[in-house]
């Protein structure tokens, strides 16, 4: 067994602890609501002298990301954290971070966007950034928050990738819940993370470069094309890093995690903590003879299309659970992604979408059982409602 330390941590503490072990050069954050306990935890490590990070306390999230962009361009290893409306305020600079190919790692505690005012979990905030060019990783539990954060640094800084990464976790459900987390020794993390070697740091005055110049119809398109190209290297890089991480941690991180899906007839697909609750129901249904399964998506951006098709092509029917509404009347962002992915195969499984859990509405085990029961009917039917609402009044 690899030497590890087991601790009881909230998701926010798990993120903060990973940040401590990474010991980034610069962290910029806006220290009041809607900030999360991630920065609270990390600021304590700074105050206690346990990290060497320069903490820049800025006047808004827009400035937090702006400072992150500045520091990362200069050649620093940069991290930050935010949530909900804070992320919404950042968005202009979130796009710039990806476009400038800056390897910033940001912990996002998924929370609802206003209005009405709500501080609880849903995925509206990170889904707002799904087209920003950031890599997005989602975490089922506190352990995955920790693992994803460590791996994210290497993924972001890989010279073929050079893109920022968002590590998402469910607000309150994961961020404020205490669970068992196995931590790696500081030295193991240090060796895994390695030293940051920026390719084109602004501070290398012998080799001067320009970041973010005017770039009109002459080259803007080429730069965007390259940005798209960079994302094609993400899957292989992630898989290689995952192998390396497994060697030091004993834990395997997959782009997607199929659970009892091989012989499943009915499947649920979802992100973050709901996947854990679905696993529990799948186990129960399996005991009763129902061939139920789960597909958990860890990486949503870029979208691991081939793996998803292979995992789902044999099922009779699947339901995608979306914890955000994209108001297209065609279903939530995860559903439209998966439905589009499955379009190319013959003999498509039947598919439905459930919008659920907005503003922290709890996903109960009964809701999940209901979805599987509905799926049984969908599998046998040719006419059914595609986009549904789960656990809502007048659903």
């Amino acid at each position: 067994m690899k030497k590890m330390k087991t601790k009881a941590l909230t998701g926010a503490d798990a993120a903060g602890t990973a940040m401590k072990q990474i010991d980034p050069d610069v962290v910029a954050a806006y220290p009041i609501t809607p900030q999360t306990p991630v920065m609270h935890k990390f600021a304590k490590f700074i105050a206690d002298g346990e990290v060497h990070t320069e903490l820049i306390k800025v006047e808004s999230e827009h400035s937090a990301m702006s400072a992150s962009v500045g520091a990362a361009s200069a050649g620093a290893r940069v991290m930050t954290a935010t949530a909900a409306n804070g992320l919404a305020l950042m968005v202009e600079i979130v796009y710039i971070a990806a476009s400038l190919r800056l390897p910033i790692v940001m912990n996002v505690v998924n929370r609802a966007l206003s209005a009405p005012i709500n501080i609880h979990c849903d995925h509206s905030d990170s889904m707002l950034c799904r087209d920003s060019g950031w890599i997005q990783l989602y975490s089922e539990n506190q352990q995955e928050v920790y693992d994803n954060t460590l791996l994210a640094v290497r993924l972001a800084e890989n010279s073929k990738v050079k893109l920022p990464v968002m590590v998402c976790q469910d607000g309150f459900i994961t961020s404020h819940e205490v669970m068992r987390v196995d931590l790696l020794e500081d030295k193991k993390v240090k060796d895994f993370i390695g030293k940051h070697k920026p390719d084109y740091p602004l501070l290398d005055t012998d080799n001067p470069v320009t970041y973010g110049p005017l770039d009109l119809f002459d080259y803007y398109f080429e730069h965007k094309r390259q940005q798209s190209e960079a994302l094609t290297h993400v899957f292989e890089t992630f898989n290689n890093l995952s192998k390396e991480y497994e060697k030091i941690s004993g834990r395997k991180l997959n782009l997607i995690e199929p659970y009892k899906l091989k012989d499943a007839e009915l499947a649920i697909i979802c992100l973050n903590s709901s996947a854990g609750s679905v696993k529990f129901v799948v186990d129960q249904l399996r005991e009763w003879g129902v061939k139920a399964g789960l597909l958990k998506i860890r990486m949503f951006r870029p979208f691991p299309k081939k793996l998803v098709v292979d995992a789902l092509k044999h099922v009779k029917a699947f339901a995608v659970l979306d914890r955000s509404e994209s108001f297209s009347l065609q279903g939530g962002p995860l559903f439209t992604e998966i439905r589009s992915t499955m379009y190319e195969i013959e003999n498509k499984p039947k598919s439905v979408n459930y919008i659920y859990g907005l503003g922290g509405r709890e996903l109960k085990l009964d809701h999940i059982r209901q979805v599987f029961e509905d799926l049984g009917k969908v599998a046998e039917s040719n006419k059914f409602k595609i986009v549904r609402f789960l656990g809502v009044r007048n659903g």
């Binding site: 009881a8 469910d170 205490v178 669970m179 903590s273």
Partner: protein, 184 residues
């Protein structure tokens, strides 16, 4: 869910229900168990009802839903007694009343335990923070974890924040309630 032991703690903001749930969970972790502790966050203000949940299991826990049918319900504030789950196997209540009296005026089906945690807290600490005595009462009622293990985690969690003197008084509260617990 048979192998998961579930606990609900009902209290009011400021009474330490959240801290109590975390201390229990951490103590269970040190006994080699898988754990989960979380609270229902509504309006975050002193005095508002707050419900904390704990799950303890020898196997990894994957569910992230609130506890609906707890094995054990803990009522830290008697005015919230009506929120207690009537099907819990055991109910531990902070009250001056006897378990018989409580049984008489509620529809609780499980075994009832009472201790005057508020009285103990006011007497020893000089203020109503009933979480440490309630933990003592819970341990006596359930034998869930070794007493010294929970005491150690209480110290780990609180001593740095409140100082050794107040900490020692809290441990005194913890022991008093453990000794004085009444059962039906």
């Amino acid at each position: 869910m048979e192998d998961i032991y579930e606990i609900t703690i009902i209290g009011r903001g400021g009474q330490g229900a959240k801290t109590a749930s975390e201390v229990l969970a951490i103590a269970a972790l040190h006994e080699g168990k898988y754990i989960q502790a979380f609270s229902e966050y509504g309006a975050e203000r002193s005095g508002a009802p707050i419900v904390s949940f704990i799950r303890i299991s020898k196997n990894p826990i994957t569910i992230h839903t609130s506890v609906l049918e707890p094995n054990l319900t803990v009522v830290m504030d008697e005015s919230l007694l009506s929120m207690a789950n009537k099907n819990s196997d055991k109910v531990v209540i902070n009250t001056v009343r006897s378990p018989d009296k409580i049984k008489h005026c509620t529809n609780l089906k499980g075994k009832i335990y009472t201790a005057d945690c508020t009285g103990i807290s006011v007497e020893i600490l000089g203020r109503n923070i009933p979480n440490t005595p309630t933990l003592g009462a819970v341990l006596k009622a359930t034998n869930l974890l070794p007493k010294n293990c929970v005491e150690k985690q209480l110290r780990n969690k609180l001593e740095q924040k409140i100082g050794k003197k107040i900490m020692d008084k809290n441990i005194e509260c913890f022991n008093r309630a453990y000794e004085e617990l009444k059962e039906h």
